[in-house]
């Protein structure tokens, strides 16, 4: 996971404009996925990953994509919520490990 540190003047409201190559970045570690789960209540199925619902200390930038994602995710969450709930067609516990 690489954290890119912005400086004043970097464009934050247009995701199509790259930041200068001299921008400082920090190697913050690696994310390792060591388990998978079938979607179920409580493990992410019923959660809306709204980028504008933020904890104290983190504020949204002026990136317009955040608003758009918030609006679209709200709509998709609503549609997903209205679907009949049934166990997943795939149960990862029964899928053979092919490593």
């Amino acid at each position: 996971m690489i954290l890119t540190i912005g400086v004043p003047g970097d464009p934050t409201n247009d995701a199509t404009r790259p930041w200068p190559s001299s921008t400082r970045s920090i190697d913050a570690g690696a994310i390792t996925i060591n388990a998978v789960q079938t979607e179920a209540p409580g493990n992410g199925r019923d959660i809306n990953f709204d980028p504008l619902v933020l904890p104290d200390g983190i504020a949204p930038s002026d990136d317009p994509l955040l608003s758009a994602r918030s609006a679209v995710y709200a709509r998709s969450f609503t549609r997903r919520a209205g679907e009949p709930k049934q166990p997943s067609a795939i149960d990862v516990a029964q899928v053979p490990d092919e490593r």
């Binding site: 918030s70 609006a71 709200a74 709930k85």
Partner: protein
């Protein structure tokens, strides 16, 4: 049209009732427009949502005050231009509006609680959840929120049309009962203001320079 005009400055709602009525009217109309714009907008969604939530709670608070005010004060009697059936329909549609004003914010609040979204009023001021966290409950409440919004819009429109019909077609000054402005002095129907009548030419007479006769 020889309808006997009602006495000048007929009975009105109390000043508190009238202030509550018009402030609620402004809030509810704004809320309906914010609601429909919000769900159709990408860039303004977060901003409108941030207005929608506290405005809904304000409407809920005003509705409780209004309902108490309505129960404790008898409204002035209906005008003679209303039949008993019309009066009953008006009363029941009023109560339907009150019920929707109370239910709609509560459904919105419960809906966010069921989705476990923070019910942010302003900044760090949050409301507690009032429904169990359950995505299926959210789905039902979200659908109810839309249906009740349409029902509210229809009931509001019917209420407005009835008052406008009475005021401008039957000309029974119905809106004066709820008006914040002072009621105009009663004048007989078809009375022309004498000063304007002498200045303005009769509309029906042809203009002097219009289409020369053949």
């Amino acid at each position: 049209m020889n309808v006997k005009a009602p006495a000048a400055a007929g009975p009105r709602f109390t000043l508190l009732s009238r202030l509550l009525h018009w402030s609620m009217a402004a809030m509810v109309i704004a809320q309906l427009f914010i609601g429909v714009t919000m769900v159709a907008s990408l860039s303004y969604y977060p901003l409108l949502l941030a207005i929608h939530r506290p405005l809904g709670i304000a409407i809920l608070a005003f509705s409780v005050v209004r309902l108490l005010n309505r129960i404790m004060h008898r409204p002035p009697p209906f005008l003679a231009t209303m039949s008993p059936i019309e009066g009953r329909i008006a009363t029941w549609s009023e109560y339907l509006l009150y019920a929707l004003f109370l239910a709609q914010p509560l459904i919105g609040w419960a809906m966010l609680s069921a989705a476990q979204r923070p019910v942010v009023l302003y900044g760090p001021i949050h409301l507690p959840g009032i429904a169990p966290q359950n995505i299926s409950v959210f789905a039902v409440l979200r659908l109810c929120h839309t249906i009740f919004a349409y029902l509210l819009f229809l009931t509001f429109t019917a209420h407005m049309c009835a008052v406008l019909f009475h005021t401008f077609v039957l000309r029974d000054r119905m809106i004066d009962r709820m008006a914040l402005w002072p009621a105009k002095a009663q004048r007989p129907h078809h009375d022309r203001d004498s000063t304007t009548a002498t200045v303005a030419p009769d509309r029906d007479s042809p203009a002097p320079s219009a289409s020369p006769s053949p």
